[in-house]
């Protein structure tokens, strides 16, 4: 196994975990069009207390009769009892989630997957480049940094969306800025009210002075954006061991058993979803692989 793969937390279960554990929806917050954040609490108090996750991990969210979908956990890892998932309604299962109300019950299986290397990048500058629905899997990193600000150098969040009304978590930006995170935004198309940058995220790299010797780049989002962010990062001589990516594929089991999420030798659910880029390099730019 490549040493570039992120070490996973030790397996909690020796058996593959196939059955969900039930959780109640305690709040639903509409974010942008087609996306709402659902906060779940496990019904069983023992499970509620035992559950914990690391930034970047995901749960398989079950709606009985509809199926399961892999959804990143987007809430603060310091609070493991109220688990937030920002869900984009795009398929059968996510639309079924979208029809649920506060008090309804879903199944959760997890947490699964590798996590953002918040420990390995201590002491470095952190450049988070993301867009659209790519921010939710990175928000737990932002929270972790906020709780541990002194452990990191310069921290920049470069976040873009198609239009201003598709920027997520806008009410939190001021708090993040106050806590020492340089939040920089961009949109593909502005509107009457927009006075900020217009352009896709990767093209704004040149505006930031990034020290390639000590910057870690974390990126997640539409794969086309990820490709260009990596291109820009490598063009700035950031070593590919300092670039981390979270990928997404069709997932069914979440544990490397069903085969769906494979990219070359990796199971995105178990060897990822967070990868150090040098592990992905042989496969990443192969079309339709």
């Amino acid at each position: 196994m490549s040493t570039a793969l992120i070490a996973r937390p030790a397996a909690v279960h020796a058996d593959v975990l196939l059955e969900p554990t039930w959780a109640e929806i305690i709040s639903i917050t509409p974010e942008v069009e087609g996306v709402s954040t659902f906060t779940f609490r496990f019904i069983d108090p023992l499970v509620r207390q035992a559950y914990s996750f690391r930034p970047g991990q995901f749960n398989m969210v079950s709606v009985p009769g509809a199926g399961e979908a892999a959804i990143s956990i987007s809430s603060d890892p310091a609070d493991c009892e109220n688990i937030g998932h920002s869900v984009r309604f795009v398929g059968n299962v996510t639309h079924s989630i979208g029809r649920l109300k506060v008090g309804d019950v879903v199944g959760l299986r997890g947490p699964f997957g590798s996590s953002w290397p918040v420990n390995e990048i201590e002491g470095k500058d952190v450049f988070i480049a993301t867009g659209g629905i790519g921010l939710p899997p990175l928000r737990p990193v932002v929270y972790h940094i906020l709780h541990n600000r002194e452990k990191y150098g310069k921290v920049t969040l470069l976040y873009g969306a198609r239009t201003p009304d598709q920027l997520m978590y806008t009410e939190e930006y001021e708090g993040w800025r106050q806590a020492g995170i340089d939040v920089q935004l961009s949109v593909d198309r502005g509107d009457q009210s927009w006075t900020g940058r217009v352009g896709v995220v990767p093209m704004w790299f040149y505006q930031f002075r990034i020290d390639p010797r000590k910057t870690a780049v974390l990126t997640c989002g539409p794969e086309i954006m990820i490709r260009f962010v990596i291109y820009e990062a490598l063009a700035r001589r950031i070593p590919n061991e300092n670039v981390y990516v979270s990928l997404e594929r069709n997932m069914k089991c979440g544990q490397g058993s069903c085969g769906h999420c494979q990219l070359g030798p990796y199971f995105i659910c178990k060897d990822g979803p967070v990868f150090r880029f040098d592990a992905l390099q042989p496969f990443f730019n192969v079309e339709e692989f």
Binding site: A11, D15, G91, C258, E288
Partner: protein, 375 residues
Amino acid sequence: MPEERLPEIGSTVSIQKPVLNTLLARLRDEGFETIGPRVKNGTLVYGALESLEELPRGYVTEQQAGHFRLVYAGHTRYFDAIPGQPSWKQFLFPARLELFSMHKNGKGWEVSKPQPEKRNLAFIGVRACELAAIQIQDRAFIREDFSDPLYRSRRERVFILAVDCLHPGGTCFCASLGTGPRANDGFDLRLTELDDVFLIKIGSELGRAMMSGVPREAASAFLMSSAERSIERANENMGRVLDTSDLPDLLLNNLDSLEWDEVARRCLSCGNCTQACPTCFCWDAVDELDLTGTQASRVRVWDSCFNPDYSYQAGGNTRPNIRSRYRQWLSHKLGSWVQQYGTFGCVGCGRCITWCPAGIDLTQEIAALRKETVA
């Protein structure tokens, strides 16, 4: 009364052929359901096997790319016929299995698990390639980090009577993968069919115990060398050859080759190969809901990387055409499988070649890829 002296593990005995019925009866007395190759509907399947007489004695199978015929040739051997499409995978990894059911209870759901597996199965006639395939699936389902209780509970209840292949078929290439024609370790008993007797090698304590009460003799040196010669002949008479010397790198370094476009013109993406393949393990979980919306079942079914929906997610498909899907299958089976599980995923059984309606032969595809890259 003197206790019967059972043969040691690793030793080989010879039995008269009808005595196999005594062994089958012994297995049934111990609670095993004996399953073996049966002729059915013009092909070979794995079904209940009560006695030697039910084996496909005298049959051969003609197998070529996209061609299978079961032919009665009239010879005297019981275990000669190279298998049809079904493999032992259907028992250890059933094509359809309920994982659990959910019953709505107020706002919440109660989960009921199905009854645990209770059947003890004795696989009679597991060919060398098939034994290797079972061991490959063992590595996929029973891992250090996670193991699948559904597979494990079935696997633990299986008795394996392996069989050496002495007359390989038209699409066989086990010798190229080192998985046959002699069955490697991992069996309870291993049978080699000679003209007059079966040689039985003891492979485990369980195999040893099942020989109790089965009339036998120590295998003579003459019989053993006769078996060796047959195996050597089989080794030289494979229907196909696959050069694996530059695999897996040949595949993983040539993902952009034009050969993938070439095979995509012929491949139908029908998935027959993955269904017939004894090592393919991909599965899907499907929810079934009744009309009242209160009773749901989550069912595990076989899936295939050739299925157009396999890579569909969030409104897009990462493998939207046949070229990308065929490449995924072959570059996994003989490529990335090695990094994942330490062996090739292919055992050289030839089912994918025989059962491909387009007659695609992966030994030829690998050769074509090699030629295109070296040229």
